[in-house]
């Protein structure tokens, strides 16, 4: 009975919100978002009144051809710094809660990887790592970037954990990689402050839109984020799959 009441109440609240949004004339209806009034016109036209042509425009205000990446790493790069901190502190928290001072060993689950899984994962491991690296490297041109790329690298590690129940990645190495990548990101930001005038400013040349080696610090930052996200999530996976060494 309580469930039905709660259900009716929440769905009623939902309908109330829907009607309130409908009645709200300034709130753009679904599908008719009026971009002219929004800040995002500047991100699309990159602040220039002449057209940005893929492969021709030189030195645009913000390099990446992928406009979402130009927002995530160039226009609003401070958000992404906060974002990376969220994953950093979650990985730290998981290590604090699940990890322990003593040595760790793999948890014996009643799940023995059969032949198919072992062989299949060896074949798939290479492909997934390659896709992850490709997605990270081309973050500023095609959809993807640091977050999906790093997560793909972590899922490749996950595959290794599944394929062999004695496998343990070198956690110490992940921690060092994670720390270096994070500190380099902040150092690049501070470099922007020292060399140019603002924190996280793109002080390298932007080149032509669409080239692989274009848009200044954006690919560098996205590679650092890819490495950081990959090592953090792999560390989390290791924490979830190991337990205290029974002394």
């Amino acid at each position: 009975m309580k469930k039905l009441l709660a259900f009716v109440l929440t769905i009623g609240l939902g309908l109330l919100i829907i009607f309130a949004l409908d009645a709200n004339t300034t709130f753009d209806d679904f599908g008719f978002a009026n971009l002219a009034e929004r800040v995002s016109t500047r991100y699309i036209t990159k602040g220039s009144n002449v057209d940005i042509i893929f492969g021709q425009t030189l030195e645009p205000e913000s390099g990446p051809a992928n406009i979402v990446t130009s927002i995530v790493v160039d226009y609003r790069s401070f958000d992404t710094l906060g974002e990376v901190t969220v994953l950093f502190i979650s990985a730290l928290g998981v290590a604090l809660l699940l990890g322990s001072a003593g040595a760790q060993k793999r948890m014996e689950l009643n799940f023995k990887p059969n032949f198919m899984l072992r062989v299949g994962s060896r074949a798939l491991f290479g492909i997934i790592i390659m896709t992850g690296v490709y997605v990270t490297l081309h973050g500023h041109l095609t959809p993807g970037g640091g977050f999906p790329g790093g997560a793909m690298i972590a899922s490749a590690m996950l595959l290794l954990y599944l394929a062999d129940d004695e496998f343990r990645a070198r956690i110490k190495g992940f921690k060092i990689l994670e720390s270096i990548a994070g500190s380099l990101y902040v150092i690049i930001g501070l470099l922007g402050l020292v060399v140019a005038t603002y924190f996280l400013q793109n002080f390298l040349p932007n080149g032509t839109v669409g080239d692989l080696l274009s848009s200044g610090i954006v690919p560098i930052i996205y590679i650092l984020i890819g490495l950081k996200v990959g090592s953090e999530i792999s560390g989390m996976i290791d924490n979830f799959l190991t337990e205290e060494e029974a002394q």
Partner: protein, 463 residues
């Protein structure tokens, strides 16, 4: 070169480096904590642009005297709490560094989505600090309710983005003021954001997590969550209420009733509880509601003073009670009987802090309470004035009851050893409370003008 961004970037860099070796982490924590306070002295005020994209397109920080006071308070308290606990909670050094960066980010940022990100970072740091209470279910409750709070805030913010198309705080305020829209369409986003932030700021109807966390707090999580986080989040909340939220008509009524309810229920629950820490946490809930009530009625400067006075007194109260509970293994009022019989000095510090929170004359609390009550009366909110007076009466009764129990020793002897750094902190806070109580001229030197966001908008948009 010396810009406000360093207050966030340096702790973040230290946090990333601190996981390399466990030995340098506590050193880095103390070093960066002190460096932040000194740095704050040299940092110029004004708008700090990030990433070379001006106002509404890139993210910018905003440092005015309001933010500067808030930063001095939060960084100072943070440094005190970390010094007292760094030896015992060495493992949490990296998390505390990230918490410092997040709290500075909360107070400085001029971008509403950035505020959401820093709310999440500070929230996750607080969940991890609360795991030191060894009560996993209370931490789980805190995590779930805190995340729901952030989601409600983001939901309200995205509706505002759908309406006005910008995420920058000043740009949004300008759009809201100049757009000719029906006020009814603003009620939904404002109320969602108010609820989201209300959960973080411990306002009554949404703070089911507070009891679980602060009831089992220790000398780190108690002062950190009840004093440092509470001060940072209520000052940030005050900034949003003063400038962004325009409470009128029905919404103002609903918000005022909610807060008034919070004050009364907070006091009632504190009155009826037997555990020392429960009394403190309910009293800090009702203080939080009073603070937000003042912000909603536009009494900015006295609300800031209430936050400062509360933060300092709660720091002392929580440190003493948690320190004593660690020795006597229980915080029931009769187990702590006669706590101050042996250490008189600590007793005086506790009494001064408690009486200041209560608002007794001769202490800073009285001056602040007297002033904001007169301002409320001038603003014609007689109902609220009466309500706060009744709340103070109830507060007086249960605090005096607690003090009598703690001063006059019962049958068993308790001697809790407070080492020197604790006593030093108590001495400083007691001195400040008495000093500002007697000589209250400097309090009047500041006025509502410390929050200069509206003038900044005027400068930018009207040329």
């Amino acid at each position: 070169m010396m810009s406000a961004i360093l207050l966030i970037a340096i702790p973040l860099l230290a946090a990333f480096l601190s996981i390399l070796s466990k030995k340098i982490a506590p050193v880095l924590l103390l070093l960066v904590g002190a460096a932040n306070i000194i740095l704050l002295w040299f940092v110029p005020s004004g708008i700090v642009i990030i990433g070379d994209f001006e106002m509404p397109f890139g993210i910018s920080l905003f440092l005015d005297s309001y933010a500067r006071i808030a930063l001095y308070l939060v960084n100072g308290l943070f440094f005190i709490v970390t010094i007292l606990n760094v030896v015992e909670y060495k493992k949490l050094s990296s998390i505390l560094l990230v918490a410092l960066a997040a709290l500075n980010g909360l107070l400085l940022t001029g971008d509403l989505f950035n505020l959401f990100v820093f709310l999440e970072v500070a929230g996750i740091a607080a969940y991890l600090i609360s795991t030191t209470n060894k009560k996993p279910l209370a931490t789980f409750n805190y995590l779930v309710i805190g995340t729901v709070g952030s989601i409600l805030y983001l939901f309200g913010l995205m509706i505002l983005y759908g309406m006005f198309g910008t995420l920058n705080m000043m740009d949004m305020i300008h759009e809201i003021q100049t757009a000719s829209i029906a006020y009814s369409s603003l009620i939904l986003p404002f109320f969602l954001m108010f609820m989201g932030l209300g959960i973080e700021a411990k306002l009554l109807p949404f703070n089911a997590w507070v009891k679980g966390i602060l009831k089992h707090s220790n000398t780190l999580s108690g002062p950190m969550i009840a004093s440092v986080y509470a001060a940072a989040i209520s000052l940030m909340f005050g900034r949003l209420i003063n400038n962004l939220f325009m409470f009128e008509g029905k919404l103002l009524l609903v918000v005022t009733v909610l807060l008034a309810l919070g004050v009364v229920l907070g006091e009632a629950m504190a009155f009826s509880s037997k555990k020392a820490r429960e009394i403190l946490l309910f009293s800090s809930i009702s203080q939080a509601c009073i603070t937000v009530l003042l912000f909603v009625n536009g009494i900015i400067i006295w609300a800031v003073y209430v936050v400062i006075a509360n933060a300092l007194s709660k720091l002392v109260l929580y440190l003493i009670i948690n320190r004593a509970t660690k020795e006597t293994k229980s915080d029931d009022v009769n187990d702590l009987q006669g706590l101050f019989a042996k250490n008189i000095f600590v007793g005086i510090a506790f009494t001064v802090a408690a009486l200041s929170v209560m608002g007794l004359p001769l202490f800073a609390g009285f001056v602040i309470k007297f002033n904001y009550l007169t301002q409320l009366a001038v603003a014609g909110q007689m109902a609220i004035v009466a309500l706060i007076l009744v709340a103070s009466l109830v507060e007086g009764i249960y605090f005096v009851k607690l003090l009598i129990k703690l001063w006059y020793s019962g049958e068993k002897e308790i001697n809790v050893k407070f080492d020197l750094p604790y006593k030093a902190v108590f001495a400083v806070v007691t001195l400040m409370i008495i000093l500002f109580g007697l000589y209250s001229a400097p309090l009047d030197s500041l006025d509502n003008g410390i929050d200069t966001m509206q003038d900044e908008i005027g400068v930018i948009y009207n040329g």
